[in-house]
Symmetry: C2
Subunit: 327 residues, 2 copies
């Protein structure tokens, strides 16, 4: 692979996310009809790490294909991701996203639905704006991934009214709802760079494992994070009886203790008792070990790709940030 | 054009719609997760004329390209159309569609949103499942049209709270919300048949004018239809103070008389008085004339295409059905 010869050290996640933010800010929206495009610009100005397009750009660049060349697909994946957040917020009746009112709160539900639909079609448009030699592969993985994400969201909603969800089912749900989009982002970067199907798949697997690690870290921080650093209240999942890896394992391991702890009516006592039970059952360590395993597995995928040392370091650091991040 | 030589008389709208219904019934949905795919099958079994895929099939066939070859795009356009109906029903808070409960009534709003999203992505997948030589053109007109339809829906929603909507603005709204999808359906049939851009555009214009005629006929029948044949209550638009071509013209022509008639509290009296006012202002005839003009204009588009006599007759009959239909 000729990518060994590249000088790559100028690139960082900060560099990519700032380029991506510039691209997003340069999208020109029609001025009419009033109410359709304002929520889209609002969603995309909401911040976030831009992790998905950053991965796509980094993969493309690491394979010798300038990150600039995946600009349209990077915009597409971030537009799509924000569409899923917008519609999920309606479905979950969420009030706040990135510290600001959600679209259906600031506007209304019809606007949130319609602006979301517009984002999905705009994302499809940006995604297919590429060379005809790669269009079919790019569009296929994008559509396949989108369907998986809807399936993940449906499983997540179905879990709410089910009492027999297993930890394995939960892991499969977050794979669909969260992880495959990171895999898809990486794969599209590799497709654009005309990498072999094997290399495409290694990057896909890297992204999926990374996504698992990130989501599990999210769940871990919601219970064990530092309130100062995490940015939102600790214990929300426990208070809302959310099914997570931690809670499902606890129910499996000690049903009666969970029944006692989760039925406490006083909020801070409930959070404390459930958390103590998790620790007593060794679930905090078990969760960290699982995150670490996914992270190592992600990194292992890339060892046979033949990346330069600096590129390999970049992807390792992204993966390790899932283990270390506090917020 | 070699299509002059074709024998086409075996084809009818009934033939195409029955083929399309068969195609739709053959779609295989995953069995899991529960609740995601059932509403999609439910929407697509809801009936309707299948006008959009019928037009696509007929255009393709008339240009010497077997209708079978646009199967995936025909499924896509009907799937997309039903996605817009599904999400519109949520936005409009509608209870009944094709005589059955709407999806958000039979299931719930989150299911309606998520199944709709799935239909849109499935439609994109079916649409791009074509030869790479036409994929870019097909996907471009499809995405462009989808955005126009969302804009039309947004205009329609904005009209509800505006008091200064003109009849011209209304015509532009129904062009976006309804007519362009018929134009898009025809154009994709022509693209698939490798017709020249000029022929593609003539079929597009045919579809758009036809769509205008159909929507205006819908509005006309809602007020002047035969209740026995129309299948739903006559006067719904009047009762709900819906902005239509008829009502907007009436407000423009005699504001005070409309103010009197629309403020009547008794339903049947309100419908009768508003309808009488429309007739006194000559709006029933004006609406019929406009429908007739659009129909003739639609047919005129195809005169230079060089279709066989029987094909021309098919497209004329579809257009004339907009003028004559009672339901």
């Amino acid at each position: 692979m000729d990518c060994h010869n590249q000088v790559y050290s100028m690139f960082s996640t900060e560099f990519f996310s700032s380029e991506i933010n510039r691209w997003l800010s340069e999208i020109e929206y029609p001025s009419k009809p009033e109410g359709l495009y304002e929520p889209i610009a609002y969603m995309l100005s909401g911040g976030g790490k831009r992790l998905r397009p950053t991965l796509m750009c980094a993969v493309s660049e690491s394979l010798g294909h300038s990150f600039d060349f995946v600009r349209q697909q990077a915009i597409a994946i971030e537009m799509f991701h924000n569409f899923t957040l917008l519609h999920d917020d309606v479905m979950d009746n969420a009030d706040i996203r990135h510290g600001k009112p959600t679209v259906h709160r600031k506007w209304n539900i019809p606007t949130a639905i319609l602006s979301g639909d517009t984002m999905l079609t705009m994302a499809s448009g940006f995604m297919s704006d590429c060379g005809s030699d790669i269009r079919e592969d790019v569009v296929d993985i994008f559509n396949k991934t989108a369907i998986e994400i809807y399936e993940g969201q449906q499983y997540d909603m179905n879990f709410e009214s089910r009492q027999d969800v297993t930890a394995d089912e939960y892991l499969d749900m977050i794979r669909l709802k969260t992880a495959v989009l990171l895999g898809c982002s990486c794969k599209i970067g590799a497709i654009a760079a005309k990498a072999s199907p094997m290399i495409q798949d290694l990057f896909y697997q890297y992204g999926v494992k990374l996504g698992m690690a990130f989501q599990l870290r999210d769940d871990y921080l919601d219970t064990f994070g530092d309130p100062e650093l995490f940015g939102k209240q600790i214990g929300g999942d426990i208070l809302n009886d959310k099914k997570t890896f931690l809670s499902l394992q606890a129910w499996e391991k000690n049903f009666n203790a969970m029944l006692g702890a989760t039925s406490l009516s006083e909020s801070s006592e409930k959070i404390m008792k459930v958390r103590d039970l998790y620790v007593a059952l060794g679930l905090d360590k078990m969760c960290l070990d699982l995150i670490s395993d996914y992270t190592k597995d992600a990194i292992r995928q890339l060892q046979s790709v033949g990346l330069s040392a600096s590129d390999m370091e970049f992807f390792e650091n992204v993966a390790l940030s899932a283990v270390k991040r506090k917020s």
